[in-house]
Subunit: 186 residues, 2 copies
DNA sequence: TTATGAGTTGAATGGCCGTTCAACATCGGC
DNA sequence: GCCGATGTTGAACGGCCATTCAACTCATAA
């Protein structure tokens, strides 16, 4: 009985992931405006009606998608931070994970950008984005406090994260993937 | 006769500007997804049918809106650059104009962000964005070549513009307007 | 074999979108 | 005072959207 319950959980989770993945692909391909449930359903090979069962409504699906992307980035960051001991390495780890080609590819980037355009107008999205943002800033600040005077940590942390976002945004908008990340280390 | 023709031009222009302004306000208020012609029409105090007359279709209106915002920023930059003689001042002028509170307010920022989410999926938007982007980079590069070794100008220009975008993006997303622009000068 | 129920379907529904267009207002030239 | 052009209206239209739900599938339990 317990096994069955766990199996159901697993099956549900797999399905959810599949639907979220199809959503990411849809947004990446056609953009936020043209992303419809029918389109996502076609990509996932399911019926449009299924989304109601797993996510309630479209907004729920989108929130789950944003959460999934934030969680993925969070896991990647945690893994890299675990391997970095010195404060300097931890800062570098945060920079690297945000500009890693894996999180940085055209598809993923365009989806982040699409969500950001909506973040201001959706309390649900804003909440998710704030959580991720705060954690990154906090990680940076903590590492910085060990190698610079305390008063300097905050503004430098803001500067670094701004640099990350800027390079990332620039690369996404202009469409060419340079290795500017190396330059961010100056 | 010539006078009448000019009057018509002026009247058309005023109307166009009014409609574009209403579009900006609508996107700023409700976001790209919820921005409809009916909503814009209500804000402008006109009938929804009027947009067809002035812009053909909704896409034409949106392109005109993006063009208008880019032109506004371009004019502001040109004005500041005209007043700056030394290369150092010209670089500062470019930074300042992009982070000026006037272009930087919540409304305008959110509209830029909304458009950027769509830029990847619209050739029309991409064209407008590229023009503005190239000009800013070119201005930076030109000024930089006069105060740093030639080979360094390009990467530094990219770094500065990334920093501008990043600070701007960060402020827009987090909703508080700090004077980090001062820090960008480090 | 049959009954059960979770998982899934896809056609139907109602609503709102962008677009169209015949009709209407406004007004300077005759 | 009439006319034609210019500018504008707003109801009508077709289409596509998210959402709903009765019906279906198919393992598994009895």
């Amino acid at each position: 009985m317990a096994d069955i319950a766990i199996d159901h959980r697993d099956a549900e989770d797999i399905r959810r992931r599949q639907l979220v993945q199809a959503t990411i692909e849809s947004i990446a391909d056609v953009g936020f405006a043209a992303c419809t449930l029918s389109d996502i359903a076609k990509r996932a090979g399911v019926s449009p009606g299924l989304f109601a069962h797993y996510f309630g409504d479209k907004d729920g699906l989108l929130e789950a998608t944003l959460r999934s992307m934030a969680a993925r980035l969070g896991r990647a960051a945690a893994a890299r931070l675990r391997a970095a001991r010195r404060p300097r390495d931890r800062i570098q780890a945060i920079i690297d994970v945000n500009l890693a080609s894996e999180e940085f590819d055209r598809r993923t980037s365009s989806v982040w950008l699409a969500f950001w355009g909506q973040v201001i107008h959706s309390a649900r999205f804003k909440r998710v984005q704030n959580i991720y943002q705060r954690r990154m800033l906090s990680n940076l600040r903590h590492a910085l406090k060990q190698i610079v005077p305390h008063g300097d940590a905050e503004p430098i942390a803001i500067g670094i994260s701004a640099m990350i976002d800027g390079l990332w945004l620039r690369a996404t908008l202009s469409g060419d993937f340079e290795l500017d990340s190396a330059r961010a280390r100056a």
